[in-house]
Symmetry: C2
Amino acid sequence: MNDVPHPSSILDDRVHQKARLGILALSSEAKAVEFGYILKTLELTSGNLARHLDVLEKAELITIKKGFVGKRPRSWISLTTAGRDALASEIRALRAIVDRVERANSLTSGDD
Amino acid sequence: MNDVPHPSSILDDRVHQKARLGILALSSEAKAVEFGYILKTLELTSGNLARHLDVLEKAELITIKKGFVGKRPRSWISLTTAGRDALASEIRALRAIVDRVERANSLTSGDD
């Protein structure tokens, strides 16, 4: 134990929230990621995904480009530089949390 | 890219929420952790911490024991077995997310 702030205290709720963390993480894997791919990989409903994309777009962490494949409308999601930086900060904080919990416990090597 | 579910999709919001993750992580470091210590280490307000403790207690992830040090009331927070298991699952999922993002990117080694 010590009294320095725990690494969870620096997490940003815009980025840490489960669905948004998934969206940002997936979007970091390619220049642009298609809406339907995110939908399937994160197991979200369309409405729920749209709502979280809206939060991320308003926070200027992603851009959304709309277009067509044949006659079908498609949306491609890309990280902005701010989005990439925000994800990097989140990942650093998560690693610090994981390392600290694992150091203090044998949690993940147990027989649960 | 692949179409298997992203590790973020298995996160449990009761455990993943920033303050609650901090509470569970700190509580895993000792048999019991005092309210004031959590308050200071997570940089929360009393009301906010009390609200999150209530969520975790109702979910049976922690127990809260009230007592006194001299005349001062004190609360000690302990993980239940279910709480310890839930934290272990969260930590495993976070490690999978971190590993996947770091594999796909040079995010955390960049010059940001």
